[in-house]
């Protein structure tokens, strides 16, 4: 009895040693930590650029830092991404360790040709997480983006990641998409994806030098740009800033942003958006698909550079109306761009209709591409101004002799 139990326990224990998943032993100093990767298309081959950390340079514990770059880059070309990854060992002394990747930059060329082929490896490889952000290199290659030296944050990939997360919170046009979200959008029937773009300001050649970060105002910087619209896995074009804002408003991605309104008597006034809530409702009217966008915005008065009486509730209400009008314009622009210019359902109207009227969606899903550009979109916007800051009327109107 007891012997039987012991034998069972022993065999289970032995089995557990061979029945493990994949694991591998490697020391910290035998691997290159990959933080940023870039994929471009050169001819019909993939060109992979890997931004890898030089740990000794980044963790500046040893007093004076040498003039070595905190990151280094390895490049490889191959007809598949996997091949390119493995080819990288020709130039890299250590195996590339991809679990900590923060950012993936896709060259605009590749994006316009279609990204689905490149994404499979990234989601299939067990070593890679699927929660890093993806950017499109606008008017340049992914390789160039990853080469720019950045101040404050020594690792360019980290800089991109951090400024993406910060500005997503405080500035409406940007939004982040991780690999997971991107794939989700790609496979959803009634939705096309968007991705944020990144541009290089200044001459990229200068940006590669360490000199670039020795200046207070670096000559070359990385800057987040507007959104790139996709149709399926193929990029079709860029949204303007207003359109990007409109897109994020519709998708409920805006957490906080700034809104500038003209005052009735000249001058300008800024609102700080605190909270937005949006909802897309799909439906059908006379056999044609419709969508209704409900948006609720809460805001504070942030800056008043004109003469306006904020103590009067009527003023506040008229400001709210103005702001509503501004939001509507942004959203209309975005919807128009999607419907007419790119014919890409980046908002997921199709999904919304499927969720609201599944049977109806079954009927129209085949020719959704025809229906989408002409579908009717209604807006339902409500802006509420909660507070006016620590002063009422601005002192701007009281300055003598102005």
């Amino acid at each position: 009895m007891n012997g039987k139990a012991a034998a069972l326990a022993a065999s289970l224990l032995v089995a557990s040693f061979v029945a493990t998943g994949c694991w591998n032993r490697r020391e910290l100093n035998t691997m290159s930590i990959l933080l940023g990767a870039g994929i471009d298309k050169v001819g019909n081959q993939y060109r992979l650029s890997a931004q890898v950390v030089d740990p000794g340079e980044v963790a500046a514990a040893k007093g004076s830092s040498s003039a070595r770059s905190p990151v280094t880059m390895y490049k490889a070309t191959g007809s598949t991404l996997f091949e390119a990854f493995r080819k990288m060992t020709l130039t890299s002394p250590r195996k590339i360790y991809a679990s900590h990747i923060r950012i993936l930059v896709i060259g605009e060329n590749l994006a316009r040709e279609g990204i689905s082929g490149a994404l499979d490896l990234l989601s299939r490889d067990p070593e890679m997480r699927t929660d890093y952000d993806i950017l499109i290199a606008r008017n340049t290659t992914a390789e160039n983006v990853l080469k720019i030296m950045t101040p404050l944050e020594k690792i360019p990939a980290n800089k991109l990641f951090d400024s993406l997360t910060t500005s997503e919170r405080a500035w409406a046009p940007t939004t982040t998409f991780t690999l997971n979200e991107l794939i989700e959008q790609l496979v959803a029937k009634g939705q096309d994806p968007v991705l944020t773009g990144v541009i290089i300001t200044g001459n990229p050649k200068v940006g590669e030098e360490y000199m670039n970060v020795n200046q207070i105002d670096p000559a070359v910087k990385l800057k987040l740009s507007t959104l790139a619209a996709f149709k399926g896995s193929r990029m079709v074009g860029w949204l303007t800033r207003d359109e990007s804002k409109g897109y994020n408003l519709i998708m409920g991605n805006v957490r906080s942003t700034a809104v500038t309104l003209p005052c009735p008597n000249g001058g300008k006034l800024a609102l700080e958006v605190l909270r937005t809530k949006s909802k897309i409702k799909g439906g059908a009217e006379n056999g044609r698909p419709t969508a209704r966008i409900q948006l609720k915005v809460e805001a504070n008065v942030a800056e008043v550079a004109c003469i306006v009486d904020l103590d009067d509730p009527r003023t506040i209400r008229s400001l709210e109306r103005q702001a509503e009008e501004e939001k509507r314009e942004l959203m209309v622009k975005a919807v128009k761009a999607a419907q007419k210019r790119y014919r890409a359902d980046i908002f997921g109207f199709g999904e919304a209709i499927y969720r609201a009227r599944p049977r109806y969606w079954q009927r129209i899903s085949k020719d959704w591409k025809e229906h989408f550009p002409d579908m009717k979109v209604e807006y339902d916007i409500e802006v509420l101004i909660r507070r006016t800051g620590t002063t009422g009327k601005s002192f701007v109107g009281d300055i003598r002799g102005d």
Partner: protein
Amino acid sequence: MKTARLQPAVERFLGALGHSPDLIVRQLLWRGSLPIAVLYMEGMADSQTLLEAVLIPLSSGIGDKRIPDDSGDAELERLASEVLRAGDLALVDDFDVMLDRLLAGQAIVLAEGSSRGIRVNVAGMEERSVSEPLTQTVVRGPLEAFTENMQTNVALIRRRIRSPHLWIEAREIGKVTKTAVSILYLSNIAGASLVEEVRRRLDAIDIDGILESGYIEEFIQEKTFTPFPTVYNSERPDSVAAGLLEGRVAVLVNGTPFVLLVPGLFVHFFQSAEDYAQRSDISTLIRLLRYLSFLIALFAPSMYIAVTTFHQELLPTSLLINLASQREGVPFPAFIEALLMEITYEILREAGIRMPRTVGQAVSIVGTLVIGQAAVQAGIISAVMVIIVSITAISSYVMPAGSMSISVRMLRFAFMALAASFGLFGILLGLFGLSFHLCKLSSFGVPYMTPLAPFFAADQKDTLFRYPWPRMIARPSRMNSKNPVRQKSAGNGGKKH
């Protein structure tokens, strides 16, 4: 009737002890006529007591009338009952008993014409006085510790428990050393089966010498092979008294200040005397801290090895880069590095205990160089490893019972090896094995992990937590004590639990 001569009897003692010079024979004439001899061991009998109890009374009868030759036996009885002034004396017939008592420090009085002798307890040797405990120190609580003398130790406990139910059973263990061993228990609290089991295990010991309670511990502990201590030891009378009140049984061994308490369960090794002397809230927090340190001492190096060599994805990116930069240029794998440092530390520790006090400074200076900045600067050890080893070392001293930290020290290396070969998976396997082992272990019939497994809800009041005294109504039920109620409470009228 055959008259026993004095001289051959004295010669017999001298012969039995090989004419050892510390056997003192004082011959004198009782009332000027009857030759008698007083025998004692120098240094074991207290000379002042000997003088007052034996020598002065015996010499006071000088010059009296002559005693007949054949009345030696009667005179000896008279000496015992009228002359000698001692609390503990008796007439002894047997030579072996006399020899035994003589070696225990008593004086033996022999007389011409008698084959018997009187043993007079004048034992009193030089000994250490009661002082502060060197281990298990507390900030608040009694500052007395046991000494090497068992009588003193028994008195220290009795002074704390003035109850007729504090029963003591004496044993002599060791065929050569004849070491006095006592079993102490509260007859109205300790479970009868437990006491019987202790008796049985003590009586089964067959060894020539017992010099420390550790000898006894190894004989009476569980037969299961285990790195964990199943017998608790303490040099604090208050801890032992508290154990007796819980229904445990104490074993005192003459010649050592370390008293054994059985059963010794896992949770006992995390309880300090101070827990009960200070406020319950802080005691609870500190006790949780001890369990945390136990885990750190056991797992810190192995976790570090597992995470840095197998599961780098578990670390935040910036921490990973930081660790990676420290490991740049370190020539050893993390496991070897950790092993190197842990062994160095163990060497230092051992040297620290064993070295002569006078070279202490030299060892500590060299030690800080070996485990420290110099090793890091030389590039053979990473700075994190120094931190890991240090926190491990410090954590292992948080446990109030030294015997548990010894188990942790040993197991740590096993876990490091597991982590180096299988990562966190290996640690988990080891933890499974350890849990199985701990749950299977028992001490004197009580499962080792009681009251956690098997779980006793009522006993949780003094396990991870330490409830305020007014709320600890019941004694720990794990001891199967005869009298489970500690205090009558207004709330439950003194009912069981």
